[in-house]
């Protein structure tokens, strides 16, 4: 599978509700060792929604301080963005990702963890 098979795919919850499209994929470095890179990047989840401006602009990173005039509109636009853990994905077929839980059970994406950045 390619990452592009997921990006832009429509996400449908267990009740058949469309949550938006896959806007990004969160990877975590805890997979099998791969050469000089070390622990590989495992697909941990999907960032899903009508928009994902905050993620795309990098404002969800913990060490990025966004200007208030920018961050408030971005938060409003991203209000419906949700994080779908990969273990919730039941099927990926024909550009549709089906998950095993309802939209109400999903949370907004939290900032990605970076061990090199102090909290």
């Amino acid at each position: 599978m390619r990452l592009s098979d997921l990006l832009g795919a429509e996400v449908v919850d267990v009740d058949g509700v469309h949550l938006g499209k896959v806007r990004d994929a969160r990877l975590v470095q805890d997979g099998p060792i791969q050469g000089t890179f070390g622990a590989g990047l495992r697909l941990a989840g999907l960032i899903v929604g009508p928009m994902a401006l905050g993620s795309r602009l990098g404002f969800r990173r913990t060490h990025v301080t966004a200007p208030a005039l920018v961050v408030q509109p971005v938060r409003l636009l991203d209000a419906r963005t949700r994080y779908v853990p990969w273990d919730a994905v039941v099927e990926v077929r024909d550009r549709v990702v089906r998950i095993d839980r309802a939209a109400a059970e999903l949370e907004p994406p939290r900032p990605p963890f970076d061990p090199t950045v102090a909290p």
Partner: protein
């Protein structure tokens, strides 16, 4: 030889921190861009990134639409094989992720310079005097 780095638990958003980033080889030369990622399923059902896909063969399908078809057609035109896969860089050749992606191999050992080679052989080589150019 470097010891394998332990799992850090670092989280990376693929579009934000990987896609379209510049690849830099072990000699500091540019070696293309990250146009897509290959994900491989493990026995436990999880997926891990096993390769970076680079070049028009990866970018075309990702873009989609007419532009994507044009890019894919260009790739097929340049590739000597009729059933060609995009340039694939094993993720084990990645040394570091940052503002660019540092590789531990030379770009001469990677299949990322196809366009450059095609232009060299089909265009530059036909210019009178090109054979006298210094290396």
């Amino acid at each position: 030889m470097d010891r394998p780095k332990p799992p850090t638990g670092r989280e990376v958003d693929a579009c934000l921190e990987l896609l379209d980033r510049q690849l830099v080889d072990s000699g500091g030369d540019q070696a293309g861009k990250v146009d897509d990622l290959e994900l491989t399923e493990l026995e436990d059902g999880s997926f891990v990134v096993t390769a970076i896909l680079s070049g028009p063969g990866a970018l075309g399908p990702r873009l989609g639409g007419r532009l994507g078809m044009a890019v894919a057609a260009l790739f097929e035109r340049l590739h000597p094989d009729t059933d060609a896969d995009p340039a694939r860089i094993p993720f084990g050749s990645v040394k570091d992720l940052g503002s660019h992606i540092t590789l531990s191999r030379s770009r001469d050992h990677l299949d990322v310079n196809r366009m450059e080679h095609w232009v060299r052989d089909r265009v530059i080589a036909r210019i009178p005097g090109a054979g006298d150019a210094p290396e």
